[in-house]
């Protein structure tokens, strides 16, 4: 017989296995199971299963984020199944300013991003995936791989840069790409939306703060665990211009013909007027021309193809219909490969990850690649702890389609180049790229050639981002911590511009340009934290100090007429090109920020909460006298459900808390050096050939910028009232916030009268702006299904702009005038122009209407808004706002056995789009291609042979004005360009299957999935894609993209991406 003592039995280590599920029975993968009092721990697999060796009389502690931890005595059992109870939302622990807090202790507006929905997307940048997944946050981005995201939290509070502040593992960064951060490294994302939560970050927090924590190992985990994530997919544009534009040259000719006939031209004269010859043959039965251009043979008769010579004697055939869109856009590909190894022993944790991301854009020759390594470790020894979180990343983007071309948007492939006439072939008779080098075929560039010739244009970025930290627990109540954050990067770009001899405005010279940039930002923050409770009182104190220094340097150069354009010859060296064209310049910036801050949280009975924050910042960007700003905040919370009078076991209200917060945040997001006036200028601006030499210039200077020595902080005062409710026994969470933000001393450069010259006007603190709105989030997370609805509304209003006048125009005009205005009483970036009131019906209508230049039947009639009897520039008015009334996301997940189906639907409602592309595809500026239905749906005269002024029609309300080549009037900037930008889009949908263990015993867990992004869109918008990226717009005072939203200039459309993936742990 075995004579073991009970003690021996107790001490015997046995193998315990089991399943961890939620209260509803759904398996919980990733829960930690730990034998109390030992180093042994294990994680559950995707089926919720675990196995651990533990003392038979020991206790297992099971923890999982979002659930209440439990401790279960083993009592000698070898199977221990555990069901975890979901935590009320208020029990969640969140990372906020410099610390962690239970949600119940937070009095500000803090939203938690649904990271599951984030994982169902494939874009390079994690911030791009936030759209629709968190209330109060708007994200705009283009379909171009690796492109910038524009994230806005609770509207727009400044004329300047409104990008939020990102805090990644405690290190602040202002960067709207965040491409260096591997999305799979992200553990959690919190958004601090109001001043009472964000003001601890004082400076730069006025646009909200996004706190990103990366994955860490867990102490005591024991064995390391590796997770491999592989995903690959195919992408196509959600929509193409070939759905919108004419594809047949003969159909296009009908449009041209009709626009001349309606203008009174004789049929026989039209082709010579437009093309200089009968390009399409008999105008009554036109045919596709054999050739559109034959060098000096102007009539293209008896073409001798042996006369062809590149680049001076091109011969270009006619095309039966070139689908220019398909030439440039097709199927893209995405691949994302991650390996993550995490673990931790006694007093240490580690997490090491590797990522390779490779996305081939839907535009030809466009690709983005990234590799990154992350090392997060921490060490804990007695009262001392230290560690670091560091990411190294390198990325490269190639290809010729600019994310955003700027200006009139015509340099980009999409702006107007892809609107080439269908009669133009892709290549000429010798296979060289062709374009409209003939009369009347427009002066666009072959978009495929642009893409092809820019295929080796490459932008590269290298980045080291992270922090090292150390801390000391002086007493259990007092903790000191110091963190040194660094953000060091360099970037480079090398580009090539080809000669374009095939264009109607040809160029024969090539050129290259390249630039290099580098920046270093250091953040050193030191905090002391004190926490204590005595009886019903809990007190938390934090004081800290922070120093931030940044500098950057940029160098750019160019060289023309390269002797060899081979990629190996693309350097800026005298011998390689025309040395006289060589140009080089450099620029840089420096800035510093010093801050002191403190925070106190007091909690009575877990029922009454009071918090105070104050931060004092000094910025080098501001005037010496006004450099320092103080940013206070306060919050109150009342957890009603803890009151004795609150009925216990309430079937409806499980937990109720009310919050109110007020605070001030600051903004100094302007370029450094604006406190002084500067002189300078460049060779094309201030140098002059005073000697009459014809080829040499003498240096000059002009005032380039007016400074303002009194610049001070822009202040954002925000008030927030919110409620957190857990309903139906914690089954439904509801968070509602109502808020107001008022910005004072708005930093902005009001335009000066032209008589003051062209120097950049001084930035002043003159404007005021207001945003009001609400955010709400309703969620249910059950065993078989979960749903979260996020919704937000904001209303933006300019209260004052200072300077002269009560408005200023947006930064980019259309070809036909300004279409964006910033005006007191209106939202930032409102659309501005005439009100289009249909079309002139007939001569009587013209006579009866207010006097309008060029008024004629069939042309657009504008409204006499000031009632003076004539249409003048003074009749222009507000014709729409790019700001939505409501944006929302609905996230749904269903689980059944090993299957999970999850998806997000995003919707935006009430915003308008100004479709500048109508200049081209409706008004045919630069003889571009036009919309398919233009001929059929334009205003048509009953009889075009009567004098022009006497035209009448049977259909007075068609979609388009009359086709009339003499109509330079209808195209004036008006509400005719404005359309509803509302849409609903299924942004992602994923079906996942957790592979049962019996199929893959060697793996801890495995999940395979298929997913789709942007599966469908419901919209009334007639343009390419209502999900417009924000345009990159820079003014003298920095990034001013918010003055130019919702304008469609032909952007790289979103992609519909189908992908498959696998996640396995071992």
């Amino acid at each position: 017989a075995t004579a073991l003592t009970s003690g021996q039995v107790a001490a015997q280590r046995i193998r315990v296995a089991g399943t961890v599920t939620s209260a509803g029975g759904a398996p919980l993968g990733g829960a930690q199971v730990r034998a109390l009092g030992s180093d042994t721990a294990a994680l559950t697999n995707a089926q919720g299963r675990y196995a651990i060796t533990a003392p038979g009389n020991g206790t297992l502690q099971i923890t999982f984020i979002g659930f209440r931890p439990v401790e279960v005595p083993i009592n000698g059992r070898t199977t221990v199944d555990v069901s975890l109870e979901r935590l009320a939302v208020l029990e969640q622990v969140l990372v906020t300013g410099y610390t962690q807090q239970r949600r119940a202790e937070i009095t500000g507006a803090v939203a938690t991003v649904n990271t599951q929905a984030v994982e169902r997307q494939t874009t390079a940048s994690v911030v791009q995936r936030l759209a629709g997944n968190v209330s109060g946050v708007q994200v705009e981005a283009s379909g171009s791989p690796g492109s910038r995201s524009t994230v806005r939290i609770r509207g727009v509070s400044s004329f300047q840069n409104n990008d939020p502040l990102y805090i990644v593992d405690g290190t602040p960064v202002q960067d709207s790409y965040v491409n260096w951060l591997n999305a799979d490294d992200v553990e959690s994302v919190q958004v601090l939306k109001d001043a009472s939560s964000a003001s601890i970050y004082g400076a730069r927090a006025s646009n909200g703060v996004v706190i990103i924590e990366t994955k860490k190992g867990r102490a005591g985990q024991g064995v390391s665990r590796a997770t491999l994530r592989v995903r690959t997919g195919l992408a196509t544009p959600v929509r193409g211009y070939d759905d919108i534009l004419i594809q047949s040259p003969l159909d296009y000719f009908q449009v041209v013909k009709q626009s001349y006939l309606n203008a009174g031209y004789k049929l026989a004269d039209i082709q010579s007027a437009v093309y200089g010859r009968n390009l399409y043959g008999d105008p009554n039965s036109p045919s596709v021309p054999q050739y559109i251009y034959c060098g000096s043979n102007t009539t293209c008769s008896n073409v001798d193809v042996s006369k062809y010579g590149y680049p001076n004697n091109l011969i270009v055939p006619g095309s039966a219909g070139t689908n220019w869109w398909k030439q440039v856009f097709g199927t893209g590909k995405v691949g994302d490969y991650n390996l993550d190894v995490a673990g931790g022993g006694v007093g240490n944790t580690y997490n090491l990850s590797f990522n390779y991301f490779d996305q081939i854009g839907t535009a030809r020759f466009n690709r983005y690649q990234r590799g990154s390594i992350r090392v997060n470790t921490s060490f804990n020894r007695a009262k001392f702890f230290t560690g670091e979180n560091i990411a190294l990343s390198g990325d490269r983007g190639t290809g010729g389609l600019p994310n955003d071309p700027g200006g009139y948007a015509e340099d980009g492939i999409l702006g107007k180049n892809v609107l080439m006439q269908p009669v133009i072939p892709v290549r000429d008779i010798q296979g060289n790229f062709a374009s409209g080098k003939a009369q009347g075929l427009g002066n666009q560039s072959n978009p495929l050639k642009l893409a092809y010739e820019h295929r080796d244009d490459v932008g590269k970025n290298g980045r080291i981002f992270g922090s090292a930290f150390a801390g000391f627990d002086v007493t259990p109540k007092l903790n000191l911590r110091s963190t040194l954050g660094l953000n060091v990067g360099q970037g480079s770009f090398a580009g090539y511009s080809p000669p374009l001899p095939e264009n109607s405005e040809p160029t024969f010279n090539n050129g290259i340009n390249e630039n290099n940039s580098s920046f270093q930002n250091f953040t050193w923050s030191n905090t002391a934290r004190y926490s204590a409770n005595r009886g019903p009182h809990t007190l938390g104190l934090l004081i800290g100090q922070e120093v931030i220094r940044g500098s950057s340097r940029f160098m750019t150069g160019s060289l023309g007429s390269l002797i060899s354009t081979d990629i190996a010859s693309r350097y800026i060296q005298d011998a390689l090109g025309d040395a006289s064209t060589k140009s080089v310049s450099s620029s840089g910036s420096r800035n510093a920020l010093v801050s002191y801050f403190g925070k106190a949280d007091y909690n009575l009975l877990d029922r009454y909460l009071v918090s105070f924050t104050v931060r004092r910042d000094g910025s080098s960007n501001l005037g010496r006298a006004n450099r320092w700003g103080t940013f206070p905040a306060a919050g109150l919370g009342w957890r009603l459900s803890q009151e004795p009078f609150f009925p216990k076991d309430n079937a409806i209200f499980s937990d109720v808390r009310l919050r109110a917060g007020w605070g001030v945040t600051g903004n100094q997001q302007i370029p450094s050096g604006r406190i002084v006036s500067t002189f300078g200028g460049d060779r094309g601006d201030v140098y002059y050939d005073i000697n009459g030499s014809n080829n040499s210039i003498v240096a000059g200077f002009r005032q380039t910028q007016l400074g303002n020595a009194n610049l001070k902080w822009e202040e954002n005062r925000s008030t927030n009232v919110g409620a957190d409710l857990s309903l139906f026994r914690n089954n439904v969470d509801l968070v509602v916030d109502v808020w107001q933000r008022k910005t004072n001393n708005l930093l902005f450069d009001p335009r000066l009268p032209g008589t003051a010259g062209l120097a950049a006007p001084p930035i002043q603190n003159v404007g005021r702006m207001q945003n009001t709105g609400f955010d709400l989030s309703v969620g249910h997370r059950g065993a078989s299904w979960s749903a979260t609805l996020n919704g937000s509304h904001y209303k933006n209003k300019i209260l004052a702009i200072g300077g002269s006048g009560d408005f200023f125009y947006g930064p980019i005009a259309t070809r036909f005038g300004n279409q964006v205005i910033n005006k007191i009483g209106q939202p930032i970036g409102a659309f501005y122009g005439y009100v289009a009131d249909g079309f002139f019906k007939d001569a009587a209508d013209v006579t009866a209407s207010p006097k309008q230049d060029g008024a004629a039947p069939g042309r657009i009639k504008f409204r006499d808004t000031n009632g003076d009897g004539q249409i003048t520039l003074a009749d222009r008015t507000i014709i729409g706002s790019p700001h939505p009334d409501f944006t929302g996301g609905l996230d749904l997940t269903f689980r059944r056995g090993a299957f999970e189906l999850g998806g997000t639907i995003f919707g935006t409602f009430g915003n308008k789009i100004f479709d500048v592309q109508k200049e081209f595809y409706v008004f045919r500026d630069f003889s571009t291609n036009v919309r398919k239905d233009l001929l059929a749906n334009s205003w048509t005269p009953v009889d075009a042979t009567v004098p022009r002024a006497q035209y009448t029609t049977n259909n007075p309300n068609p979609k388009y004005p009359i086709l009339d080549i003499n109509d330079t009037y209808s195209r004036a900037v008006s509400s005719y360009y404005v359309e509803s930008g509302s849409y609903v889009r299924m942004t992602n949908l994923q079906l996942a299957w957790d592979v049962p263990q019996r199929y893959a015993r060697w793996l801890a867990s495995a999940r395979v999935y298929v997913q789709a992004e942007n599966l469908f869109t419901i919209t009334g918008y007639n343009g390419l894609d209502p999900a417009l990226p924000a345009a990159n717009v820079t003014g003298a005072a920095g990034d001013i993209r918010d003055q130019y939203r919702g304008v469609d200039r032909g952007s790289y459309p979103s992609s519909r991406t189908l992908s498959v993936g696998i996640i396995t742990s071992f």
């Binding site: 032209g754 062209l758 002269s804 005038g817 003889s927």
Partner: protein, 559 residues
């Protein structure tokens, strides 16, 4: 401290002052900081030529239709506002640069009196004051009622002066410049203005102001005592050949330069770059500013070689056909036509014969190309950098040339009754016009040849002189004005001339009545009325002049 910029103290020395002055000269044509088409050009092709009977907007209907609004007198459109605002910014930037030179000079003279010699200081001051006057003159002839800004002005929202008050300010500045400047360019740098430039300019202002007695005195002084003379032949007036540039005919020119290290060629003829022939030509450009049929017809001469428009006022403008080489083989023409207008089959300087493929949309804007500001192939004036370098050259852009001065003097002589003096001047101009004609242009030497050169098959060139004494003041006035149009055609002066002669309404409405049958889009022109005598002040500038709720700048009448 801002990075990569200079501050005022680093420039408070001679280098800074001189550099600031250089920048003031640079603003004579479109600068980088105000880069745009149409409004900023030194030549005023958009504001002085397109709205006149000289030229069409050109190009095609679908490119830059704002210019069509200028041509059709729809000056209230937002497109026109953009062009006018561009002009406004360009001229006042020039004023600001001139004034900051003066301020900086004063500062240096106070802080470091030894830094600038008294002579240099006088020269700098004179040049800056002259340039300030020039820029204000430009604003004056476009808008009439403008604000005048000097170096001590800090309020940039001054109300408009009346047109007469502006003239007085201009003359005050020019008199001061005359007293400060030397008679030869400082440092021998030909781009600099002299006391003679300022005197000539003073005469121009007096003529514009209708102060004929004063103008007569000033201009006669320049003619009799100044350094100017006509170029020996007309082809040497607008040219890319360096040796012909800055000759005696140049009073004030924008000194264009190409291949000077600017990567975009922006110091070349930036304001003119849209006005080159289209893709069939070497230039492959945009085809703006095309000569009108009316202008081409105007170069016909009668049997005496005198303008047909004077001897046959009812028939000279009858031709509607393309006056190409074939059609004009036996037509008697003033040879200046083929230095001014590119015609099919006629050699285009030394670029070979002009061809129909050089025109972008002949049915829209006719068959002719501009020619004056286009360089000769052999001149090597073409740029090798920039967006379409073939449309960039180092041809200087005349802002004021001696022939212009002489013809204004002739006007003054007519108005003061000295008709014979006027006849002598007109004959002097015509004699030079008859010196050389466009030749076959196969090489440098054959660009310009004698009028009777046998290789000329495309015209019968003839320039006759007025041999009969002038006795009738009205006829003399007509002859002088006719000569002025022929001599200065397409140089951006015609509209302003018609206006100051107070015949713009009559001439332009008559022009539209005929021309709308030639170019159908002109049928949409608004009748030219008294409000068109001045351009509207850009609405945005009126807004920006608001102090409180009232704008200090008042809009011109009728706008």
């Amino acid at each position: 401290t801002p990075q990569g910029a200079l501050n005022e103290s680093t420039l408070a020395n001679l280098t800074g002052v001189e550099g600031s002055l250089i920048a003031a000269y640079r603003a004579l044509d479109c600068t980088d900081s105000n880069f745009a088409f149409g409004g900023c050009s030194a030549s005023n092709w958009g504001l002085g030529s397109v709205p006149s009977d000289d030229a069409y907007k050109g190009s095609e209907a679908q490119d830059f239709p704002d210019m069509t609004d200028i041509e059709n007198y729809h000056w209230g459109s937002s497109g026109v506002e953009g062009i006018l605002n561009n002009k406004w910014q360009q001229v006042y930037e020039g004023v600001v640069r001139a004034n900051s030179t003066l301020r900086l000079l004063k500062e240096v003279q106070t802080s470091n009196p030894a830094a600038v010699s008294a002579d240099a200081a006088k020269g700098i001051q004179g040049e800056a004051i002259f340039l300030r006057a020039h820029y204000h003159f430009e604003a004056w002839r476009v808008w009439g009622n403008i604000g005048y800004y000097r170096e001590d002005d800090h309020d940039f929202q001054k109300p408009n002066l009346t047109s007469d008050q502006v003239a007085a300010e201009l003359l005050k500045d020019l008199d001061q410049a005359i007293s400060l400047l030397l008679s030869t360019p400082r440092n021998g740098q030909v781009g600099r203005v002299t006391s003679w430039t300022a005197k000539a300019y003073k005469g121009r202002v007096q003529a514009y102001a209708g102060q004929w007695a004063e103008a007569l005195k000033t201009l006669q002084d320049v003619k009799n005592n100044g350094p100017y003379a006509l170029e020996p032949s007309y082809d040497r007036v607008w040219t890319g050949f360096k040796e012909f540039e800055n000759g005696k005919e140049t009073i004030l020119a924008y000194q264009a330069s190409a291949n000077d290290g600017d990567p975009n060629g922006n110091n070349a003829n930036t304001g003119e770059r849209l006005n080159f022939p289209h893709s069939g030509s070497h230039f492959g450009c945009c085809g703006f500013h095309q000569p009108s049929q009316n202008l081409v017809n105007f170069f016909q001469v009668d049997a005496n070689g005198l303008p047909l428009s004077l001897s046959s006022p009812s028939t000279w403008n009858a031709r509607n056909d393309n006056l190409d080489a074939k059609a004009s083989a036996n037509v008697a023409l003033d040879p200046r036509l083929d230095w001014t207008v590119g015609r099919d089959g006629v050699p285009y300087k030394d670029w070979g014969p002009h061809d129909p493929t050089w025109i972008r949309a002949p049915g829209f804007s006719g068959p002719y190309s501009p020619k004056k500001m286009q360089h000769e192939k052999a001149s090597g004036a073409e740029s090798n950098v920039g967006w379409v370098p073939t449309q960039l050259n180092s041809d200087n852009i005349h802002l004021y040339r001696y022939a212009d001065l002489l013809l204004m003097l002739a006007e003054a002589e007519v108005e003061s009754g000295s008709l014979e003096n006027a006849r002598a001047i007109v004959n002097q101009i015509r004699t030079r016009a008859g010196a050389k004609a466009q030749g076959p242009g196969t090489d440098r030497a054959s660009i310009a040849v004698p009028l009777n050169d046998p290789s000329i098959t495309w015209a019968k060139y003839k320039v006759g002189l007025y041999t009969q004494p002038w006795t009738d003041k009205n006829a003399a006035r007509d002859a002088v004005r006719t000569e002025r149009r022929l001599e200065l055609a397409m140089e951006g002066q015609r509209f302003f001339d018609l206006r100051r002669w107070k015949i713009a309404e009559q001439v332009l409405n008559a022009y539209v009545a005929v021309e709308k049958n030639r170019r159908s889009y002109i049928a949409a022109a608004e009748p030219f009325t008294s409000r068109h005598l001045l351009y509207p002040i850009p609405q945005v500038q009126i807004e920006l002049s608001k102090a409180g709720s009232t704008s200090n700048l008042k809009q011109n009448p009728g706008w």
